[in-house]
């Protein structure tokens, strides 16, 4: 069952601009994670935000979590061409056992 769903499906911006991606989920969570995937490669963990946190930063990444709206957003500031990738949010499934990923947001950063 699909828990997380990213929005938009695709995003194209110029280098230097900020990129915002959103994730909505259905059930209560302990935490929510964001992953990045370069084309044709595996996923890389970016950041984990716990259910009692509202905002978290890591370098140029800023993640927010609104448990009342069951949503999270990932902001990449001052984007670079190297940020071009797909971004996924992940939450636990309904049984609290395994991670469920949404279809992802494809980000293109144009030089």
């Amino acid at each position: 069952s699909q828990q997380g769903e990213e929005d938009p499906q695709a995003l194209s911006i110029q280098e230097g601009e900020n990129a915002t991606m959103n994730c909505s989920y259905k059930t209560s969570i302990n935490n929510l994670q964001w992953y990045r995937q370069n084309s044709g490669r595996g996923l890389v963990h970016l950041i984990l935000i716990r259910s009692n946190e509202r905002e978290k930063h890591s370098g140029r990444l800023r993640v927010t979590l609104d448990t009342s709206k069951k949503s999270s957003s990932l902001l990449i500031t001052a984007s670079r061409a190297a940020d071009t990738a797909s971004y996924f949010c992940a939450t636990l499934d309904n049984y609290g056992q395994n991670f469920v990923f949404g279809p992802g947001t494809r980000l293109s950063v144009l030089p």
Partner: protein
């Protein structure tokens, strides 16, 4: 850094062949997972294992089996490959936890084409 190694980046097989996808992790992780990734569908869990010789079905186990004889190795087996199993296959591992606080470490993926 944790390394998760998948044996092949690209694989081309014929319909009906038995296919083995191998995955090895080097950080003594308890948990290992196999996902497949298809355009527009995201990642879907095929099988997972929380311990040696233990395996559990994920969301789409049909047509697949797995083997975990050693802690570091988790193999995905396609008993009789079919064209609808053409996909990117991703192996992942994580530390023991079960509360979801652990993060997943992924291999580079195997792009399997079944002709």
């Amino acid at each position: 850094d944790v390394k998760v190694t998948q044996s092949s980046r690209y694989l081309v097989k014929r319909t009906g062949e038995k296919v083995f996808l191998e995955c090895v992790q080097d950080m003594d992780h308890e948990n290992m997972f196999w996902y497949r990734q298809d355009p527009g569908l995201g990642l879907r869990l095929i099988y997972f294992s929380y311990d040696v010789k233990m395996k559990e079905k994920g969301d789409i186990p049909e047509g697949y089996s797995v083997s975990r004889e050693k802690k570091e190795r988790f193999s995905l087996i396609l008993e009789s490959a079919s064209t609808n199993q053409t996909s990117m296959y991703l192996c992942a591992s994580s530390l023991e936890g079960g509360a979801g606080n652990e993060k997943l470490f992924f291999g580079s993926g195997t792009q399997l084409s079944v002709l």
